[in-house]
Symmetry: C2
Subunit: 191 residues, 2 copies
């Protein structure tokens, strides 16, 4: 019960926390079933959560940590993509910050050279990763968010120990609908 009390998100149909509102402490598979045409602002009272472009956790992904998101641009981080939907969302279970670990592999199916990480990297290339792509990823513990561009920008990909046993064998498995195979930064998701 205490754990449930910890999770709490409020969504509004209009920007700047106006109009119809709805509060959630559990996942929402399709906000349209609550009579919403769209979500245009969000407050996360306790998180983290992950939002999705389409119902049933499909499409572009958005990490939502505690704080205020007064309009679409605040959670998207990707300005070239103009759909502006967020129609489903769910809480994420993460490890203690110091226990998070992820392994990046040079090739698909966990082949080739690997790199184990326990910290945040705003630039994978600065840490010695030679490519703009990460072909496969194993989440050993916790939850992570990978990004298309350096400095935590562009498309976001949520990676969790508790989904697919943490195994992402190729970019189709983490990049929902395969928007891109580029990963240039990665960080832990914190409570």
């Amino acid at each position: 019960f205490n754990q449930l009390m910890c999770l709490w998100i409020t969504v509004w149909e209009e920007e700047n926390f106006q109009g119809k509102r709805c509060e959630f402490m559990l996942e929402c598979q399709n906000i349209m079933e609550r009579g919403f045409a769209k979500i245009r602002s969000i407050k996360v009272e306790n998180g983290p959560w992950v939002g999705y472009e389409y119902p049933e956790f499909q499409g572009q992904q958005f990490i939502l940590e505690k704080g205020d998101y007064p309009r679409y641009e605040a959670w998207s981080g990707n300005s070239s993509y103009r759909t502006e939907h967020m129609l489903s969302f769910r809480p994420i279970k993460c490890a203690n910050h110091s226990d998070s670990k992820v392994t990046l592999y040079e090739c698909e199916d966990f082949q080739g050279r690997k790199f184990e990480m326990c910290d945040d990297y705003p630039s994978l290339q600065a840490m010695g990763w030679c490519s703009k792509e990460v072909p496969s990823i194993k989440v050993n513990s916790g939850a992570w968010v990978a990004y298309q561009f350096p400095g935590y920008r562009g498309y976001q990909y949520i990676l969790e120990r508790d989904r697919h046993q943490g195994d992402y064998r190729n970019y189709n498995e983490f990049s929902t609908q395969a928007h891109t195979n580029q990963v240039q930064s990665i960080r832990r998701i914190q409570h």
Copy 2:
């Protein structure tokens, strides 16, 4: 000399690293003086650097860490603002990752309660900061980037020990041209 060799940025006039190009190992006050109409793609071979919307380090700020930025959206992170200029840039000096420290203050001019930080915070509210604003900031060591929204999204504000002695007495001093006084996430800038 070795330190100079470490810094290297290449800019192109067209997207995806096409068209006229220019390499820099030192600051550039105005790319238009090199005959560029615009910068449309960037590779950072070694960083970090900070880009600015206008000549002479004015206007919106962009943190540029090692990696590829094939178009404006890759470095902007702010999709509601459509100017798409980056006309000057300079390298940033940062501390060792573990030595970085910053102090946030509840009021302007370093008044009120304070909070000392040595780590990255994707959500200041999750760590206990009660407001969406940070009225004044002192950089004790290293260089940091503060963001308008949680999860390192929205406007970016570069904060350095080596500028203004690390003192930012009100949001006009860190938010160039005062786009907003909101700060909801902050992180260290790494080599």
